[in-house]
Amino acid sequence: MKQVEDHDLTKPVHERERNVTSARDGASSASAKEAATTGESAGNLVSPSDEQLLEMYRSMILVRHFDRRAVHLQRTGRLGTYAPLEGQEAAQVGCGFALDKRDWLFPTYREHGVSMVHGLPMSTVFLYWNGRPEGCIPPAGVNIFPIAVPIATQLPHAVGAAWASKLKGEDVISVGFLGDGATSEGDFHEAMNFAGVFKLPVIIFCQNNGYAISVPLSKQTAAENLASKAAGYGVEGVRIDGNDITAVYEAVKKAADKARRGDGPTFIEAVTYRFGSHTTADDHTRYRAGQEVDEWKSKDPIERLKKDLLARGLWSEEQDEAAWAEADAQVQVAIDEMQAVPPVDHNRLFDYAYAELPQHLVEQRDEMRSLYGNGGAK
């Protein structure tokens, strides 16, 4: 993790080294530019335009404000247990912006940022964290699979969906998300192996935030880094500074283009940090030193991009204030939408258990209705 902490925040983002490392190259800290010039990592990096950077910046603000409001809603009893992502906005928003809207996402429970960028309405995310089945239903045409709670189990799904795209001859890719802890699971291994063997159009995107709940990466693996694991599967592994949104955008864009060309999978390790706890039921002060948290907060991905945009005259404090106010208004609309949703329709318990309800479930449903009624309207 130390290799990517050498950022000089005084320099504009576009002048800083991206710390994009191709683990396959065996290098530990070669810059993307170096990798590109050595030809080891085929394809030139496509950087975000200034307009895209501004859009991504606004998006990060929105995601952070959403996240903070979600934590607050949980604390005040208006939301269930919630998994915050503050600190990981660059990794998620940068990834989302580099993808095509048709691409498939297979998220964990901390991917609200990338999911919203990809088209999941904020009110849907709120509904999920309120235990509502409606929170698992993306709009038509938005290929975001419902959150997978069991760790790493979504990765074979991403691989399978990519496999289907390949068989159908579509230039659609799949992205499977995971955290550092998930690399210890068997499903991670099996998914990476399948992706390599079948050369599938998939990105396995790991946000290494240093902790699996309380367990630090040093107790998760004896490997020097996670990206190097990819070599064992014949998959390209890339390690990036996950708090550098440009680096994230470039790495994902490159991996996506590669996948779309039929050149196979990429494992991306985006090194980042969650500022808060694992979930609202967790207390990170039990296992993390305040100093460590403070150090990472000084590398806040939002502040970092803001400094860059200000330095380049693309942004002003007035615009910044307006962007936060706008985010507040947008989040409030989503909260209002969530709160305006009628009570859950009890029939949702039965309606989709099977394509057609078996007789014994018809009887159970009828008993449920007679005891508890139908609940809220559909």
Partner: protein, 325 residues
């Protein structure tokens, strides 16, 4: 009409499925070049190509997990688990995802697939090649479970499972893969999921069985006839959902019931069937429902498997208990 063994009927069913629907994909360990360790997929890769009959890495969770993604993105996977006792690494994928995708996404995503798995003892192989853990999966809502006992049902149930919009676990009685031949129609036909089959009518006692145990039950019925008992034998075929109506009708007629399965008795499917019977036909019962199962021990090494699984003698003993209560 051709006469086929169960394994040939399964191959034939897979061929029909592959011919009819370009979305169908057969995948698993050794299913391609080798045609499967039991030859269930013999010749299919040569006929349909390596992209549709796929040798996968040795990874059950990967096979089932990638099948979820394949199905969600429009394909119709028929993954094979080489032996039912090897399905445990894929339990999480099946229980946490395969069975729940429809419910979780409220119908927005579905993952219809047919998971084929040879089950039960009988091939003198090492441990875990003889397990019958069907009850684990019958307990999980969202996935159907079927188990044919003859070649006709094998092909018909397989094609019905392929047609199903819900995932189906298709259990193959490996002990009788090649035990006998039956007439199997060419091309497409289906045997409806969820329907039991009264194989032999009788008036004194109902014996419920499936897969390998069906023939054991029929054998026991013959022995029972010598004692003057007229046994009705019902092939459940569908283990989830159960055909409660046929079960109840049979018991209402005979007043006595024996359930036979290879899996251990405690919390086996026999317990659920006994419960269905007392729910639906309590006042018709002349005796408690008798369960004849494997013993409540782990599945043994094969020198003990013949005394572990019920045979006709043990089923007859069960019939005796029901008749002489």
């Amino acid at each position: 009409m051709a006469k086929m063994t169960i394994i040939q009927a399964i191959t034939d069913g897979l061929r029909v499925a592959l011919q009819e629907d370009p979305r169908v994909l057969v995948l698993g360990e050794d299913v391609g070049v080798n045609g499967g360790v039991f030859r269930a997929t013999e010749g299919l890769q040569a006929e349909f190509g390596a992209a549709r009959v796929v040798d996968t890495p040795l990874a059950e969770a990967g096979i089932i997990g990638s099948s979820v993604g394949l199905a969600v993105n429009g394909m119709k996977p028929i993954p094979e688990i080489q032996f039912f006792g090897f399905i445990y690494p894929a339990m999480e994928q099946i229980v946490a995802h395969v069975a729940r995708v429809r419910m979780r996404s409220q119908g927005r995503f579905t993952c219809p697939m047919v998971i084929r798995a040879p089950y039960g003892a009988g091939i003198r192989a090492p441990e875990l090649h003889g397990d019958s853990p069907e009850a684990f999966f019958v307990h999980q809502p969202g996935i159907k479970v079927v188990c044919p006992s003859n070649p006709y049902d094998a092909k018909g149930l397989l094609l019905a499972a392929v047609d199903s919009e819900d995932p189906v676990l298709f259990l193959e009685p490996l002990r009788i893969y090649r035990a006998f031949r039956d007439e199997v129609p060419e091309g497409r036909y289906t045997v409806e999921l969820g329907k039991a089959n009264v194989v032999k009518e009788g008036k004194d006692v109902s014996v419920f069985a499936w897969g390998t145990m069906l023939r054991v039950a029929l054998e026991a019925a013959k022995l029972a006839k010598e004692k003057g008992w007229d046994v009705e034998v019902v092939d459940l075929r569908s283990l989830s959902p159960l055909d409660r109506e046929t079960i109840a009708e049979s018991v209402k007629k005979t007043g006595r019931a024996v359930v036979v399965h290879e899996a251990p008795k405690t919390a086996g499917l026999g317990a659920e069937i006994a419960s269905v019977i007392q729910d639906e036909a309590f006042l018709y019962l002349e005796a408690p429902v008798v369960r004849v199962g494997g013993y409540d021990t782990p599945q043994p090494l094969f020198s003990l498997e013949d005394i572990f699984a019920p045979d006709a003698k043990r089923v007859l003993h069960g019939i005796d208990k029901a008749m002489n209560f």
